[in-house]
Amino acid sequence: MFSKILIANRGEIAVRIITSAKEMGIKTVAVYSDFDRYSLFTKLADECYYIGESPSSKSYLLADKIIEAANKSSAEAIHPGYGFLSERSFFAKMCKESGIKFIGPGHEAIELLGSKIDAKTLALKNKVPVVPGTDGPLQDLKEIKKTAKEIGYPVLIKASAGGGGKGMRVVMDEDGIESSLRATQSEALSSFGDDSVFIEKYIASPRHIEFQILADEYGNVIHLGERECSMQRRHQKIIEETPSVIIDSDLRNKMGESAKRIVKAAGYSNAGTVEFIVDKNRNFYFLEVNTRLQVEHPITEIRTGIDLVREQLKIASGERLSFRQEDIKFSGHTIECRICAEDSENNFMPSTGKISYMNKFLGSGMREDTGVEQGDEISIYYDPMISKLISHGADREIAVSKMKRALKEYRIEGISTNISFLLSLLESEEFKRGEYHTQFIEKEFLNRHLKTTPDGELKTAVSLAAALFKENKKPKIKLNTGVNGHVKSNWVNKRFENYR
């Protein structure tokens, strides 16, 4: 096993990796930007190296700087987390050439699976169904029109190098195809430096379901069950759960084995995730492989009792998987909610500023993965995710009730969050029944009128709270209203004493 590793990431995922490493007796090295000088993950690490300015292009994306820090600190391996350099094959290659173990798959596998078209070809070769579409990149409008007609509208135009919802457009009929193609191509060119696209059948109201994979360096591969990730807004996952209400053990087995075939064929090792979409008739289609740890990995950890970061470190250090597929046991139901700094009442506008107050009560059955503490700043530089709340219960109903309680008791002041939005999602009939899909939020939920008007005792509380807040904030100036001269009465003073 390694004696020291470097974490080429920040925030909650850096904290998460440090946690498992410490428990294994491995020393940890953090790298940080100006903004992160005293962020939680640097406080927890054994060593800290400064790598540059706050924008990630000047720090967390600088492969050279990170390799340099690894060399200086004598770290034997680098964990890339998610995002940043985690899926860049050149970085995995640089690590290898510097004699540092990259904690993830080999750069060849990253490169192979990083190309949507190659990955699709690989899936087909291994008898895993894919969404009908072009099997090569296209650029010419005429050819694209012809292909779209063959596949049948609606179709999806996707940037070949895209991801995370970027560079994707649905085209309902031939009239819309030209403008959509131009828009997709210009976006793809500026974002990824590559304007090739491909086209596929658009599947209405699909589920996004993914499988967690572990593969050692000796060809042993297992899956750890599915994650239901259909609760999305703008292709960003918001709530994830496992098991999925639509997956029975038969389908789980079929999809899990498909996922394993792809990963095996790619010569993949370490942790990875195979994404599928599932249509209304429970047909599944391979989507892509994420060649890294996922944001939502904790729900799998809790339901299987397997620490994925620990397994990543063991695999990277050359150990064999210590369990077989039949050893994997699933227990209860797990849900994750992503708490983000965004104003869900104002078009999900990102919210920046200082967290002036944070008070939470997790209680039994709850886990929180976070990189942020009271007093910290939420900046424009990085992802707006503040925290991942994860609940575990004997069944789905209990897991949901725990999550709701914890969300109600999670307080953040100084910035806006999506907590009330998460809570209304959990309270929707569709979520209760488990009947939702990737377009549910945008096409259905956001059109609903969810304003709550308090009544009875709650109305009294709301009204009095508003009045007391205003009273307490009032500048301590003696008003000469004439009628009511004794403004500074005894009880006002008392209240001021209480506050701070």
Partner: protein, 169 residues
């Protein structure tokens, strides 16, 4: 005794809260006992009779309302003191909310597109421009029907937080 006038966002009725002392208050003349402890400027423990509320209040700059957060549900109210109501009456502003004539950038970022022209009349909810920040595209929408008086920025210009973007008529 202090008097405040409260209006729930979704209601047209104005309620009257009177704070008689640090133990007694009334809502529309119905008296009740309460107890209040501020944890900080925004957070308080409020007990009415024996009901317990651990809640927070914050001023929403966007809407000029107070957001009352109880168990992560947000109730929006306008709250005016007697003095403010007098001023409102004199100035003929019945709702008590200022109409904002300028739109400022909510955060630093880059203007990706501008969908309106100077002099154009737009409706509530129309997208005025798109600001890219935190790797996300954020639509800046009209919060009321209005006419664009002046555009202060160009497409692809980078803006600071609170920078003036548009003046409305």
């Amino acid at each position: 005794m202090k008097k405040y006038f409260i209006k729930q966002e979704s209601s047209d009725k104005t309620d009257e809260v009177k704070i008689h002392s640090d133990k007694n208050a009334s809502l529309n003349e119905r008296e009740f006992q309460y107890e209040c402890k501020f944890i900080n400027e925004n957070t308080m423990i409020l007990r009415i009779n024996n009901e317990n509320y651990f809640l927070s209040v914050s001023e929403n700059e966007e809407s000029n309302l107070l957001d009352i957060n109880i168990e992560s549900k947000i109730y929006k109210v306008s709250c005016r003191s007697e003095l403010e109501m007098m001023i409102d009456k004199m100035s003929g502003n019945k709702t008590g909310s200022k109409i904002r004539k300028e739109i400022h950038s909510p955060m630093p970022g880059i203007i990706k597109s501008i969908n309106v022209k100077e002099g154009e009349r737009i409706n509530k909810g129309d997208v005025i421009m798109v600001l890219e920040a935190m790797k996300m595209e954020n639509e800046i929408k009209a919060s009321r029907e209005c006419v664009i008086k002046k555009l202060n920025v160009d497409v692809m210009s980078s803006v600071e937080k609170n920078e003036l973007l548009i003046i409305l008529e």
